[in-house]
């Protein structure tokens, strides 16, 4: 049959019309839309049996109680635990995004051994047995060479069973080099030591105070136990209590305070003493304190050296403001002064801490309702006495590499000095253990820290995440994350009633990880001899149960227990300890750099939306960061529009930020809430490790600043650094 043009046309037209009246096109239309509603690449979360369990968040030292919601064996949400004494149902955004750390792409899934160059990111997966024998072999060699003191460890804090296992391990091994990440707790501890002669921490009865004078503490920016401080702040608002914030930048805390008083940074101690002067001169001081040791000398100091006019000149705050602030503070029934800048990750200037503490003492609020309490953790860790062998004995006789206890007799740990000691050749380490810390990111002058690490032949990380330090390690022995493990969580963080919480496995370990406590014990046992005997427990869990004793049952049931005592302050309060003598001639804490090449001053600022310690921001948290803080791949610096005008920098422009320690490309954000001449940069950005959601975003403040040794404590007192901004 020949198909003519006409018949072909009829066929096509007829066919089209015929198809249109069949259900086919309609069915296809319907099916395609149903398909679009069930795209296979859009996940459908499976349903299952719902349950929940309580635990404790360990992402910061705040110690919040959490309740996790589960569907079968999946955790689907972390919420604040209702009725918990710290957070009572509330939770910060880090705590809320914890599941992104548990299930996220940044986990180290199995023990890893470096195969490429350090930091190159080439790893070989090894078994736990191999990993432990690797470490053991190294440690055995070093010990047999009599170099046991060349092994060090860096952990997040000094309290709790895990840090104490590390400490015990090093002691039994023969090394004094147990180091902890620095914080204002170091300074507060030393202040109490020097002024009260007790070994204790400062606790603040913030909820009952009625006039809070904060010397730059980020009350609602993550200082202390963050959620607890948020709640206290809300209670102050509801009850008409006053908050005065002193700092050069309008932080969130400053904005929410009743009065923001900008101050020349670094002169806070002078202001505290100036206030003391007004209080004493006007006889507003608490009379019970005037009998204290050193009061007369203190009085003389403030009256001679800290007259209102002089303080006004030093701090840039006008005299009337100083006088009225002092009077209001002293006349309040429960005044409370606090210090430690931002989130308190830098220990700060000891004189400032002592001056502020003296101010508290002056208004009689030490160990009083609404005041400062000297508190101690109840020491539930009562392990059997260590039997040290001769190697251990001689190793422990050696001076610590960081000079704590020797050069700086009051200090326990001075991690801020480690980089310089190693880099200048004054000391060296053979092995370093890092657990619960990320010093290559979060220590000031992190580049110098990395250089120091580069010269340590064997770096072992216990990190659960591929952070900067883990990425530069030789061996990673990944710990369970907090949602997969048991651990005691003793919380001081400025609480007037310290608490111990219990974090517990709400899910089974997702990967081939091991509890760091178990790993430490396995290494010790593999080393044998006295090392093995020092750890008589069969597992970390057994150790924890035995250590907590009767507390265990309470913690399992309730999740937390109050765990602290107010310290009995025997003896005298000393208003004017020897260490304060340098205040007789005030000079602000110096900042690095010359005024001529660096006309501006760079200060960091902390935001609760940016984690800057061991963990980095999970994707949800980084998503919540404003575009005036992080835009594209750039950190934004805040400068006053006046400064911007002088430099010819407008909103959103790119600029180079130079400091004596480094240089970074930044975006300019003009902000009326910052003192002219000052540049503020957020902390917590500029990671090079973790996942693509965090790495490569912004610049790390710690690469632009170096530590400044406090002359008395040896701790890092750097609050800023001189800087210059240039157009790109």
């Amino acid at each position: 049959m020949k198909i003519g043009r006409r018949s072909f046309l009829s066929f096509v037209v007829g066919g089209a019309a015929g198809t249109a009246i069949t259900p086919l096109p309609w069915k296809l239309t319907d099916d395609s839309s149903i398909w679009s509603q069930n795209w296979p690449w859009t996940p459908v979360p499976p349903d299952g049996e719902y349950s929940q369990s309580d635990s404790v968040c360990t992402l910061c030292p705040g110690g919040c109680g959490i309740t996790v919601r589960k569907v079968d064996d999946r955790v689907v949400k972390i919420e604040g635990m209702k009725g918990h004494p710290i957070n009572d149902g509330g939770l910060c955004l880090m705590g809320l995004s914890g599941l992104q750390l548990l299930y996220g792409p940044t986990r180290v899934k199995t023990p890893l051994k470096r195969v490429g160059k350090r930091g190159e990111g080439k790893w070989e997966k090894i078994s736990w047995d191999e990993a432990i024998s690797e470490v053991t072999k190294k440690l055995a060699d070093i010990r047999s060479n009599g170099e046991s003191h060349a092994v060090g460890s860096i952990v997040d804090s000094e309290s709790g069973t895990v840090p104490n296992l590390f400490k015990r391990f090093l002691t039994a091994y023969g090394s004094p080099n147990f180091m902890t990440m620095p914080s204002i707790q170091d300074s507060y501890g030393m202040t109490l030591q020097l002024m009260h002669g007790v070994s204790a921490q400062a606790g603040f009865d913030a909820e009952n105070a009625d006039f809070i004078l904060s010397f730059g503490s980020g009350i609602i920016d993550g200082w202390g136990s963050p959620v607890r401080m948020f709640k206290a702040n809300s209670a102050w608002k509801a009850n008409g209590k006053k908050v005065v914030q002193i700092e050069p930048r309008l932080s969130n805390t400053a904005a929410k305070s009743d009065k923001w008083i900008p101050i020349k940074p670094g002169t806070e101690a002078a202001l505290a003493l100036g206030l003391a002067n007004v209080i004493i001169t006007n006889s507003l001081d608490s009379k019970k304190i005037s009998q204290s040791t050193g009061f007369e000398s203190f009085k003389k100091l403030v009256q001679n050296e800290y007259s209102t006019d002089k303080v006004s000149k030093i701090t840039g705050i006008n005299s009337a403001t100083i006088v009225s602030l002092a009077k209001n503070f002293a006349r309040a029934s429960k005044p409370l002064a606090i210090c430690g800048k931002g989130q308190g990750s830098i220990p700060g200037n000891l004189n400032e801490f002592m001056a502020v503490h003296a101010l508290n003492a002056l208004v009689g609020n030490i160990n009083e309702d609404g005041g400062v309490w000297a508190v101690t953790e109840t020491d539930y860790i009562k392990w059997p006495e260590l039997e040290m062998d001769s190697v251990a004995e001689s190793g422990m006789q050696k001076e610590r590499i960081d000079g704590a206890g020797s050069e700086y007799p009051h200090a326990k740990s001075l991690l801020n000095r480690l980089a310089e000691v190693i880099n200048s050749g004054d000391g060296s380490l053979e092995v370093i253990f890092v657990s619960g810390a990320n010093p290559l990111y979060s220590m000031p002058d992190s580049k110098a820290m990395k250089t120091a690490f580069d010269s340590i032949p064997f770096v072992v990380s216990f990190s659960s995440y591929m952070d900067e330090t883990a990425g530069n390690a030789d061996l990673i022995l990944p710990n369970h994350v907090y949602l997969e493990r048991y651990e005691d969580v003793p919380t001081l963080a400025g609480l007037s009633k310290p608490i111990v919480g219990l974090t517990r496995p709400v899910v089974k370990p997702q990967f081939n990880t091991k509890h760091v406590g178990d790993v430490v014990m396995l290494i010790a046992k593999a080393l044998g001899g006295g090392m093995a005997d020092a750890f008589p427990w069969e597992s970390y869990e057994a150790c924890l149960k035995e250590t907590l004793g009767v507390k265990w049952d309470v913690l399992v049931k309730k999740g937390f227990e109050f765990n602290g005592d107010k310290c009995i302050l025997e003896g005298d309060f000393n208003f004017y300890p020897e260490a304060m003598k340098s205040l007789s001639n005030f000079s602000p804490v110096s900042v690095e750099g010359s005024v001529i090449s660096y006309p501006l001053i760079l200060i960091p600022y902390d935001s609760i939306r940016l984690a800057n310690g061991y963990i980095g921001d999970p994707p949800f948290a980084i998503k919540a960061v404003e575009d005036t803080v992080l835009k594209d791949k750039n950190s934004c610096v805040e400068i006053n529009p006046k400064t911007g005008k002088e430099l010819g920098l407008t909103e959103g422009r790119y600029a180079f930020l130079h400091t004596p320690r480094g240089k970074a490309k930044v975006k300019v954000h003009l902000y009326e809430g910052i003192m002219p001449g000052i540049v503020a940069l957020p902390r917590g950005l500029g990671h090079t490790a973790y996942d693509k959601y965090l790495a490569g975003k912004g610049c790390n403040f710690n690469e632009l600043i170096g530590p400044t040794e406090d002359p008395v404590s040896g701790l890092d007192a750097a609050w800023g650094i001189r800087a210059r901004l240039t157009k790109v």
Partner: protein, 273 residues
């Protein structure tokens, strides 16, 4: 049949956010993302396409240092009632993919119905509606934390805050199971309310005088729900959107920033009520 007297009174779920207490910490944003399976991309610094059902805005008073002041303002969906449920967005949706519930006062969004015309986004002056420009992608393993109570959205549809409506449904299921038809105030709370560390968010039935939201906002239902509390205001009150999210602030500049005013308008006199 006196049983009929028990007929349920219509609810009007709403929120009062205390801006004096809000610290701008962003916990509400993340609590919402975690509760509602909100996706995230590699770069979320472009806020013009970053899905945040709850977004915290930073307001400034426009003054120079050192008189400058800032205030944070969390912005969920306002669940506008408009005039008798004629919300700006609901009335424009061509496919009835978003609806105003007269039973709860909640503006819903049906993702499988929405075909992505985005008219509702144009209609919403609060920018509370977000479009899925991209396929949602979770990193490997991360789908494990997705909640089965809220379905993840596919590319090409609009999404927004639902006042955690699934929590209302779960609470109602539980109540019915226990033979009740009414919920207690604390039985239905949104994720952001629950998480707020500062306790700045209060959620409940604005029609129920026993609920805290009613007591704080003192809504005047005869006048489109206008707040009776002089420190309370709503965003863009003058547009007549009749939103169900109220804000509380002791600072006048903050209350004034809630709406547009002509320069010569005496805000204090006319609008403090």
């Amino acid at each position: 049949m006196k049983e009929e007297g028990k007929h349920k009174k219509a609810k009007k779920y709403g929120m009062v956010i205390n801006l004096d207490e809000c610290t701008g910490c962003g916990a509400c944003m993340v609590a919402c993302m975690a509760e509602n399976n909100v996706p995230f991309k590699e770069d979320e610094s472009n806020k013009l396409d970053s899905i945040a059902w709850m977004r915290v805005y930073k307001l400034t008073n426009g003054k120079s240092y050192p008189e400058a002041d800032i205030c944070y303002l969390p912005r969920p969906c306002m669940h506008c009632e408009g005039d008798h449920g004629h919300s700006p967005c609901v009335s424009v949706c061509p496919a009835t993919a978003t609806d105003y519930s007269h039973e709860t006062g909640i503006v819903s969004q049906i993702y499988t119905r929405c075909f992505g015309c985005r008219y509702c986004m144009g209609a919403c002056p609060y920018h509370a509606r977000y479009f899925n420009w991209w396929d949602p992608v979770w990193p490997e393993g991360s789908t494990k934390y997705l909640s089965p109570n809220v379905s993840p959205r596919m590319r090409g549809v609009v999404e927004k805050c639902s006042f955690c409506f699934h929590r209302y449904q779960l609470a109602m299921d539980k109540a019915y199971f226990e033979g009740r038809t009414e919920l207690e105030e604390d039985e239905y709370q949104t994720s952001c309310t629950q998480a707020c560390p500062a306790g700045a968010i209060t959620f409940g039935d604005l029609n129920n005088p026993e609920h805290k939201v009613h007591q704080l906002a003192k809504p005047d239902n005869k006048h489109g729900g206008r707040p009776g509390n002089p420190n309370v205001f709503r965003l863009l009150e003058r547009l007549g959107t009749n939103p169900k999210v109220y804000y509380m602030s002791s600072r006048e500049w903050v209350r004034r920033a809630g709406d547009n005013y002509l320069d010569n308008e005496d805000f204090a006199k006319n609008y403090r009520r």
